[in-house]
């Protein structure tokens, strides 16, 4: 049972990691990397480390995502301030 959960979550993590590296949209990639952390925190609970799971859930999937999104919104605001569109963001 635990083994099946481990394999399921592992495959989901790998898929989310691939999405994070290869998706077209940056916000999707950022959210996918948050999903990787969230699934990792489930695995930490399975492996008897609830302290680490709490930290990973609070930091890896919440604060890191927020920090990424803040940085991305700053980059976009710099790009939108440029009059010409030579500042390329995608």
């Amino acid at each position: 049972m635990i083994l099946a959960m481990l394999i399921t979550f592992g495959v989901m993590m790998l898929v989310a990691a691939l999405v994070a590296l290869y998706s077209r949209d940056i916000v999707t990639a950022i959210v996918a990397s948050g999903v990787v952390s969230l699934l990792a925190s489930v695995l930490y609970v399975l492996f008897g480390a609830p302290d680490v799971a709490m930290t990973e859930a609070a930091i890896g999937s919440a604060l890191t995502t927020v920090v990424f999104l803040f940085a991305w919104s700053r980059i976009r605001s710099i790009a939108s301030r440029d009059d010409s569109t030579n500042g390329e963001v995608r």
């Binding site: 302290d51 799971a53 930290t55 609070a58 930091i59 604060l63 920090v67 803040f70 700053r74 939108s80």
Partner: protein
């Protein structure tokens, strides 16, 4: 093309370096001798139920002190990098700005005290249940983030943050020195009574140290979040 090949070679080299690990690692029934002695001795010696907390605060206490210092350095670095960026070219065209809706403001007002109390609960109970200074500090930083997003808090006072951080860091070192003076060594928490395992006042100075770590981490991460947040351009 060459670069792609090079990265592929690097990944393959990583796999080769990992291969002995795959071959030797298996399910073990025992832990290392050091961990075994921690598991056997730590609850009686320190009176703290959560062994991860004992390791972080006491056995690897100096590590944690250095780690909090690294966090401080990173937080200062983020503020430094963004302090130049914010004022140089901002304000030419106001960013389109949507005030948070009334529901969010009211709900944040209801939730914020709960979140802060929860964060304090996590780091005060760090020696009894999973959790501790780092987790509690992060919860407090998330509360600060919610307050910033909901507009409950428009400007974070950096003076207050640095005072909090300074006091908690100095308190951390002071508690460590007290351990050196009154008990076995630097950061030895046994100068306060260890108490009974499972009660709130147990573990000697572990709750004190972890609360200080919690305050410090909360202040540092709030500083990072506040520095990274895009300033609302006010005309």
């Amino acid at each position: 093309m060459f670069k792609r090949l090079f990265s592929l070679v690097l990944v393959v080299a990583l796999a080769a370096a990992f291969f002995p690990l795959f071959a030797t690692i298996g399910d073990r029934g025992d832990v290392s001798p050091l961990a075994e002695s921690y598991l056997a001795d730590a609850p009686d010696a320190l009176g703290s139920a959560n062994l991860v907390t004992s390791v972080i605060v006491t056995y690897r206490g100096l590590d944690t002190l250095g780690e909090v210092t690294v966090l401080f350095a990173a937080s200062a670095g983020v503020s430094l990098v963004f302090s130049r960026l914010g004022s140089s070219s901002d304000g030419r065209r106001p960013v389109q700005n949507h005030a948070p809706s009334e529901l969010v403001v009211t709900g944040a007002g209801l939730l914020l005290p709960l979140i802060f109390v929860f964060g304090v609960f996590i780091f005060v109970h760090g020696h009894l249940t999973p959790g501790g200074g780092f987790q509690g500090g992060v919860v407090i930083a998330s509360g600060v983030l919610l307050a910033l997003l909901a507009g409950t808090l428009t400007e974070l006072s950096h003076g207050m943050l640095s005072v909090l951080e300074m006091l908690s860091g100095a308190g951390y070192v002071a508690v460590g020195l007290l351990g050196l003076w009154l008990a076995g060594g630097f950061l030895d928490p046994r100068f306060l009574p260890t108490g009974e395992i499972g009660s709130l006042f147990s573990g000697g100075a572990i709750p004190v140290i972890y609360s200080l770590v919690g305050i410090k981490v909360g202040a540092e991460l709030s500083g990072v979040i506040d520095a990274m947040r895009r300033r609302r351009v006010v005309e």
